[in-house]
């Protein structure tokens, strides 16, 4: 039996906010197999973002374990987590999060740079990915000169730069008009079809419908886990 790409076991995450303790996740357990297309949904404040940060190795659980492709990530140090983010994960954010002073090509190259790829090689990869998301003609532009949909496509190309197995999208279509949103979702379908695992956080049921599996959270607990 293949190792699931994500294994969460009784994951808790609490933090102090002023004088109060906030229990964002109160014991969440699930597994996601490689190649799945999962939507995480729920009302705001249910712990979606906290869960995504944990899945993205930007944060560590207060207790419980998180295994990424079999490796226990919850006990890794900061450098090791950085390497995991850079090599095994791809991030797509609601507000694109491109670096404004860099060009399209340079933005796509950022993850490659931190993995110490050679300049020529990384340039080649970035060009190929830009072409793949349909921006081969905009390589020298700054993010500000692009539409929202184009910026999000740059972000997708950047997420694919190091050829990660798991892609995490946080309200990826939240800032986009419906046409651009559809284009992005079509790209997601393609990625899944190629065998990548995609986890997205959304509050839009129409977007959630695209996924093969919907995990709903409520008050830091798993509410439902539907496969379709």
């Amino acid at each position: 039996m293949p190792v699931p790409i994500v294994q969460l076991d009784q994951v808790h995450r609490s933090y102090r906010m002023g004088d109060e303790m906030v229990y964002a996740l109160r014991g969440v357990s699930f597994e996601i197999a490689a190649g799945e297309y999962v939507a995480i949904m729920g009302p705001s404040g249910c712990g979606k973002s906290t869960l995504l940060n944990l899945l993205g190795c930007l944060d560590r659980p207060s207790s419980g374990t998180y295994r990424l492709a079999g490796d226990d990530v919850s006990s890794m140090d900061d450098d090791a987590l950085s390497t995991i983010r850079g090599t095994r994960l791809g991030f797509i954010f609601q507000s694109y999060n491109l670096i404004q002073q860099l060009t399209v090509l340079e933005n796509i190259e950022v993850p490659l740079f931190y993995q110490g790829r050679e300049e020529g090689e990384s340039r080649e990869i970035a060009q190929r990915l830009a072409a793949r998301v349909g921006l081969g003609h905009r390589l020298g532009h700054k993010p500000m000169e692009l539409s929202g949909g184009q910026q999000q496509r740059v972000a997708i190309a950047r997420a694919l730069a190091n050829d990660p197995r798991l892609i995490l999208a946080d309200e990826a279509t939240g800032n986009l008009d419906s046409t651009s949103g559809r284009e992005i979702l079509a790209l997601f379908d393609e990625l899944v079809a190629q065998g990548r695992t995609l986890i997205m956080v959304t509050h839009d049921p129409a977007v959630g419908e695209r996924a093969h599996r919907i995990i709903r959270l409520r008050d830091g607990l798993l509410e439902t886990d539907q496969r379709r």
Binding site: G56, D78, D79, S82, T83, Q101, P111, Y114, E118
Partner: protein, 437 residues
């Protein structure tokens, strides 16, 4: 392999840093100014200080570092006596007896050179020059390290025969004979004519000031620096006798002085100080009054070096303070920079940047600021002394060490003051940083 990878990374970090600094050109430039002025003032001040101390040291060296100079000085209590009795002949100073004693009793002395110094007008037809006529021995050039430029110095034969020959100082030769070669011509002092046999080489301004100092003994006053004309000591004795009348001041005033100066040349430099002690001792035993003065150029040189060290220390502290201020400026701007780019830091961390990568990025920016500032400061600091020496005609010396040191320190300032903001950037929680607007 690993090394070249680090090098490419560094190269890219530098490129990235330059770019983000260029994005805020004015801010970066103003920040740099602190370092520019710090570095530039260090170099300029050191160059001017070095030039001044070089001039002072040259002056002392022109007296000869192996020499001990003895000078006749009017004893202070005699002046009161003179005030009461106008026609009193003052008798004081160094004697031929002193010369003999020094020669006989101190073994490590190489040469003892006596000299008489008379303040006189030296004439060429109708051109007049105020000069010091120095009666001395033929080995003066060697002892005082002052060479003959043209012609020759007078010889022992001329000395013994008390001939009327002279060697002119460079400046007075130029003024007396603006159009002709002075060697072979005559100059007049009083009623006597002297044949010019040579011209001394020019001394620096500073060395001229040294001559002024030694001139005090002869005129007993504060007359301006005069060039020297050298005649054989024997000639001087015959022409002037032992009593010198000062005809320049209002009342008649006469002094009996055997010798104005004695130069004691010591064979080995390390013996200079002990020999000077012995000489002092010897003179104090044989002179009832303190009518002489002992100058040891080597001691002066050491004193000058000590002064220079203190001077450099003061300059160094000023430099340190100005660079500190520059560094604080860098730190300030880098902290603002880090806060402004919090989100970028978050993005980079999410995309795989390690803490160390973030530290490097911001540190490189700080070092670029201070490094470029340092380079500009060096350029400016090298230019200023050049301009100063042109405009103010002051000697300035830029030692190669001062730009190198100033630049190195400014780069270090970048590292030290850039480190805290860079570490702060690296320590940020990626989740928090990504949430930052």
């Amino acid at each position: 392999m690993k090394r070249s990878l680090m090098l490419t990374r560094l190269k890219r970090s530098v490129r990235l840093g330059l770019r983000s600094l260029w994005l805020h050109r004015l801010r970066s430039f103003l920040t740099m100014l602190g370092i520019v002025f710090g570095v530039c003032s260090v170099i300029a001040m050191l160059a001017i200080g070095e030039g001044a101390s070089y001039a002072a040291q040259e002056e002392i060296k022109s007296l000869g570092s192996q020499n001990i100079l003895l000078r006749s000085v009017k004893p202070p209590e005699e002046e009161k006596v003179q005030g009461r009795r106008e026609n009193y002949i003052l008798s004081y100073g160094l004697t031929h007896e002193d010369v003999r004693r020094i020669e006989k009793t101190i073994p490590s002395v190489e040469l003892v050179l006596p000299a008489r110094v008379m303040r006189e007008y030296v004439w060429n037809i109708s051109t007049r020059v105020d000069a010091e006529v120095v009666g001395t021995f033929p080995n003066y050039p060697r002892t005082r390290n002052h060479q003959v430029a043209r012609g020759r110095f007078f010889t022992n034969t001329e000395m013994d025969a008390a001939e009327n020959v002279c060697v002119l100082g460079a400046e007075m030769a130029r003024r007396l004979f603006p159009l002709h070669e002075p060697v072979g011509r005559d100059v007049r002092v009083g009623q006597h004519y002297y044949r010019v046999v040579g011209v001394m080489e020019a001394r620096t301004k500073a060395a001229g000031a040294g001559a002024e100092h030694s001139g005090d003994a002869s005129s007993g006053g504060s007359s301006p620096a005069a060039d020297r004309m050298f005649i054989p000591l024997e000639t001087a004795r015959r022409r002037y006798g032992e009593v010198l009348a000062n005809r320049r001041q209002g009342s008649f005033e006469a002094q009996r002085i055997e010798l104005h100066e004695i130069t004691v040349k010591v064979a080995k430099p390390e013996d200079v100080v002990p020999v000077s002690d012995v000489v002092r001792d010897l003179l104090s035993k044989n002179h009832k009054k303190k009518d002489y003065d002992v100058v040891v150029p080597l001691e002066l040189l050491k004193k000058a070096e000590r002064t220079k060290r203190i001077f450099s220390l003061v300059l160094g502290s000023i430099a340190a303070i100005s660079l500190l201020v520059g560094g604080i400026g860098i730190m300030n701007i880098m902290l603002a920079n880090v806060t402004e780019r919090t989100r970028e830091i978050g993005i980079r961390r999410a995309l795989g940047a390690k803490r160390q990568d973030i530290t490097t990025q911001f540190l490189v920016e700080a070092v670029i600021l201070s490094g470029v500032g340092g380079l500009l400061g060096v350029a400016l600091g090298v230019t200023i002394p050049f301009v100063v020496s042109r405009v103010a005609e002051m000697k300035t010396i830029i030692t190669w060490g001062s730009p190198v040191a100033a630049f190195t320190i400014s780069a270090l300032v970048g590292v030290i003051f850039g480190l805290y903001p860079a570490l702060r950037a690296a320590k940020m929680d990626p989740v928090e940083a990504l949430r930052h607007e």
